[in-house]
Symmetry: C2
Subunit: 203 residues, 2 copies
């Protein structure tokens, strides 16, 4: 992957890598991807720049690792849904609250929005995020096709649309959080749950 | 407002102001708000920096004017809805296609996402965007309360939720456009229209 290998206790190396990712996330959020230099990231991480280069070749390698970490988190959520028993609609309605909380988290939202903005002008970041999105849509469609889903027999284009609208909705909550800081999850859930019901039921 | 006044043909002054806003929009999109300097904006606009300062004091004044122009465009859309005859549901379903097209426009999306990212770390930009959002939510609620709306009698918190979810959905389409460039409006509309129907009907 995007990391250099070196002889070191693997647990310690992993913990140092995470330390760099957390520091870089913080810097990207506060200063923007372009505004945050390796010097500031190393200062925030409490490590020397040389030390950071043992783990990551460049800022691009760091953002790739942040995207990868994000993707792993998302995959574990999808896998939870795939393995949950009972009708998909119930499983997803139960999962809504967590999903809303995650997308209304201001620190996560600010970092994700910064990465998406950067993707609009940086092809490398765009390709990484788009590859993750392909995989997320694939998993979501797999979920809609599973036993216990009311929409499992619908044509592909209908499922593509439902997935896109669902992702737009949750992604858009990150924007809501910035533009309407008073918005709380309970208010969102009143209308969000009926919308999820619509998306998981034949029209 | 944020512009200097000077003795000049008002039509010409207005046209010069728009020329600066277009150039600045382009620069903010390509380089990010922080990355774009007044020198680059003036070069893109084909005007000297001194000439630009006749119209705008600072980059902040330019972004305020961009937000204001955005707001005027949005208000004209809302006013169109407010004045349209017939049941609100039909009016809004008819308006969906335009709304999807606008939010899937990559240039507009990239600029808006950059401003929202910037808002997450820049209080002045945040305050301007949030003030616009307050007004947009007020107008949308006014629309949901008008004659011919099926949800006109619902409690305030229900309308707040419906407005927030609707805004999240359209805002999120800008993110979709960046993460899934192949997404087309017809695919989006398949599931988007039933969702709008849900949001404009009592649950």
């Amino acid at each position: 992957m995007n990391t250099k290998t070196r002889r070191q206790d693997p647990m310690l190396a992993q913990s140092r890598r995470l330390q760099v990712l957390d520091a870089a996330s913080d810097c990207f959020r506060r200063r923007g991807y372009h505004g945050a230099g390796m010097a500031e990231i190393s200062k925030t991480a409490g490590m020397s720049p040389g030390h950071i280069y043992n783990y990551f070749d460049s800022k691009d390698a760091i953002i790739d690792a942040i995207i990868e970490r994000d993707m792993e988190e998302m995959f574990s959520v999808f896998n939870g849904f795939l393995q949950a028993e009972g009708p998909l609609l119930d499983v997803m309605l139960d999962g809504c609250e967590d999903g809303v909380d995650k997308h209304l988290d201001i620190e996560k939202a600010a970092l994700k929005l910064e990465m998406i903005s950067e993707a609009a002008r940086n092809d490398k970041v765009a390709l990484s995020l788009q590859a993750t999105d392909v995989e997320a849509r694939r998993l979501m469609k797999q979920l809609l096709r599973r036993d216990g889903s009311l929409v499992c027999d619908l044509p592909d284009v209908e499922l593509d649309s439902r997935v896109s609208v669902m992702f737009a909705l949750f992604g858009g909550l990150m924007i809501r959080r910035v533009l309407n800081p008073q918005l709380d999850r309970d208010t969102v859930l009143i209308a969000l749950k009926p919308v999820i019901r619509t998306l998981l039921t034949p029209f």
